[in-house]
């Protein structure tokens, strides 16, 4: 089964809606598809509101950027739903992204590698198919 998810073809990035579920509720956010990122990234403010904190982190991480090395942490969220699929107990890298980008995170390869996907940029949609185990 292929799920079709729509994005705004006029945006600078391929951005889709995603739902993050935690102990205090869920939040629908916008995340960029990023095949250049090994990890899925979510900003801390959003996770704080659904009941997570740095105390729930499982490991510290660092991110090398143009201005140096910045730190975040790994966290297992109850569920991450994106591209028509829900992944339970999914590990994300909690890391700050600047407000001005207008997104709450990146969908990285630790999510995408579980699927085959076809990005149809001009049409503004992405087709995603679960890989057989």
């Amino acid at each position: 089964m292929k799920n079709e998810t729509h994005f705004d073809p006029d945006a600078d990035l391929i951005v889709v809606n995603a739902t993050i579920r935690g102990p205090r509720g869920s939040t629908v956010v916008r995340m960029a598809i990023d095949t250049g990122s090994a990890a899925t990234v979510i900003v801390p403010d959003v996770l704080d509101e659904i009941g997570y904190s740095a105390r729930d982190g499982t490991a510290r991480t660092s991110v090398t950027t143009a201005v140096g090395k910045e730190h975040g942490f790994l966290l297992k969220v109850a569920e991450l739903e994106a591209l028509g699929f829900t992944l339970p107990a999914f590990t994300v890298n909690v890391f700050e992204l600047a407000n001005r980008y207008g997104i709450e995170g990146l969908i990285g390869l630790n999510f995408l590698e579980r699927f085959n996907y076809e990005i149809r940029s001009a049409e503004g949609h992405i087709l995603v198919e679960k890989v057989a185990p």
Binding site: N17, Y101, G108
Partner: protein, 90 residues
């Protein structure tokens, strides 16, 4: 308790995404009661705004009183989404 938390909770009527962008330009908003035209569409048909501000955090704080009534809250930016961002993880 900061200023955003002291404000009485406010909720708008149902607004379309273009209406929300017009009323809260280049802001972060929290919305509830989201009506999607179809699953996995990028834009929703309409929703009710329960928080807005220039930082990510402001609308999230304003939306707290609504969390019990609306277990799912949308958190979106009304301005243009731009690149770039950090790309390499170690």
């Amino acid at each position: 308790m900061d200023a955003a938390e002291r404000l009485a909770p406010v909720i708008t009527g149902a607004l379309t995404w273009p209406q929300i962008c017009e009323q809260y330009p280049d802001q972060w908003v929290c919305v509830v009661d989201i009506q999607w035209a179809e699953p996995r569409m990028f834009h929703f048909r309409n929703a009710r705004v329960v928080g807005h501000g220039t930082t990510r955090r402001e609308p999230l704080v304003q939306a707290r009183p609504w969390r019990d009534r609306y277990p799912e809250i949308g958190h979106f930016f009304t301005g243009k989404i731009i690149a770039p961002f950090p790309r390499f993880f170690a």
